[in-house]
Amino acid sequence: MSERNRELDAPLDLLPDLREQMAAEDRSWRRVRSWATPARRTAALVLIFALELVVLVATPRLDLAAYPIPRLLAALLVLLATATLAIRLFAHPLHVHAPRIARLRSVGAILLLLPIAFALLPAPHHEVQIHPESFEGIGADFVPRALGCLVFGTLVAIPTLLFLLATNRRPYVNPERIVLAATAGGIAGTIALLLHCPLVGVAHRFAGHGGVGLAAVALLAAAMYFKHARQKISRTA
């Protein structure tokens, strides 16, 4: 009977190497991969909450009193719900059927488009007399202010993105899951901007807030490209 069709003996010679890998993993930061799935998901959400709390306490938006509370709550709720969905799909346990690629793609696309859709909503208030700072960021000031928001949001996105990647158990991370991690981070950055930036202009929000998810994806793609390029150079050297 061929080896392919019979019951095989356990490859016990793999055990020493396997044990070594397990021990090395349990000794390093990679032990987060061995956290139970609910713990990994909860930790990612707690991280997002903690980041937003720091932003809210340290640098709250100056026009918070004028911002319509129902709209603010609805935006937070929708953004957090989508971030939770992304985290749930990314930190998926391996002992159940993996989510379909089409589902990962749709959720990734929703997470990328959602901040853009929010940015295109009309200005939340028009109180130029009480909060003149909300109507800055136009003309020559447009690019620096939009860029500032994009950088701020991306910086807030990075911890979530890195944490999610650190909890990844699978040997191969497919592009859809990478995009999910990046967009979950992007949502964290978008929420931070919602709680921090007082500018209400649609153009500013579109350029500075809407693209945080895209910036996080681009950042991750660039990091991976440079990693591969460095490996290629070290191979040829």
Partner: protein, 212 residues
């Protein structure tokens, strides 16, 4: 060894004479004395930190997982995927629901590991992500055949040499990195690589792939 069979006697004896293990997995060892070891009890002991329980689980299910992999991929890749499955098993151990069956739980992990592997391989046309290198689109027609012969020859090398060749030649890792991973000296890695290449040269010459 088949699932549910009695474990290795030496392993059981060693585990039972170890006081630390006794405290970690009282359930397993209590059942050991009666000779009725269940997979679930072993899993419980393993989740509690008993590494001997992992060894026993591996000896029970390692062959089943390897057999599953062998039905789909080559020998060397099947072994890699079996190892990967048990690494995932280790990472996922806290997700195991006490009282569930271990075998279907593990086999689902194996299935997902295999699926991830195949999906990844499909995205790199002409190559397996763990072992193979893609063939260039403009390569001559016999290049694929030569490549297959080389990979077959690598597959048939002794384990200690195969690991070195695979990591150095196909995964482009340095001798120092491999030595560190395997816990041996750099010189030992070089000797293994040298012997492996001698063997490969002989085998491939005999098959008419002297220039491969």
């Amino acid at each position: 060894m088949l699932a549910g069979s009695v474990p290795d006697v030496n392993l059981r004896a060693a585990a039972m004479t170890r006081p630390v293990a006794m405290t970690k997995s009282a359930t397993w060892h209590a059942e050991s004395t009666s000779g009725a070891l269940s997979d679930t009890a072993l899993m419980r002991a393993y989740v509690a930190g008993d590494q001997d329980a992992f060894t026993e689980l591996f000896s029970r299910f390692g062959g089943v997982v390897l057999g599953r992999m062998r039905r789909t991929v080559g020998r060397s890749t099947a072994r890699d995927l079996t190892q990967q499955t048990f690494l995932q098993f280790h990472r996922a151990r806290r997700d195991f629901h006490d009282g569930s069956d271990v075998r279907p739980w593990l086999m689902m992990i194996a299935r997902n590991v295999l699926r991830d592997h195949l999906r990844h391989a499909a995205r790199r046309p002409g190559g397996s992500p763990l072992l193979d290198e893609p063939v260039a689109a403009n390569a001559p027609p016999d290049a694929a055949e030569a490549r297959a012969a080389v990979l077959r020859a690598v597959d048939n090398l002794p384990e200690s040499q195969r690991v070195v060749v695979r990591q150095h030649w196909l995964e482009h890792r340095s001798h120092a990195q491999i030595a560190r991973d395997l816990g041996v000296s750099r010189g030992a890695v070089k000797v293994r690589a040298h012997r492996a290449y001698q063997t490969l040269r002989l085998v491939l010459d005999a098959q008419g792939f002297g220039d491969a």
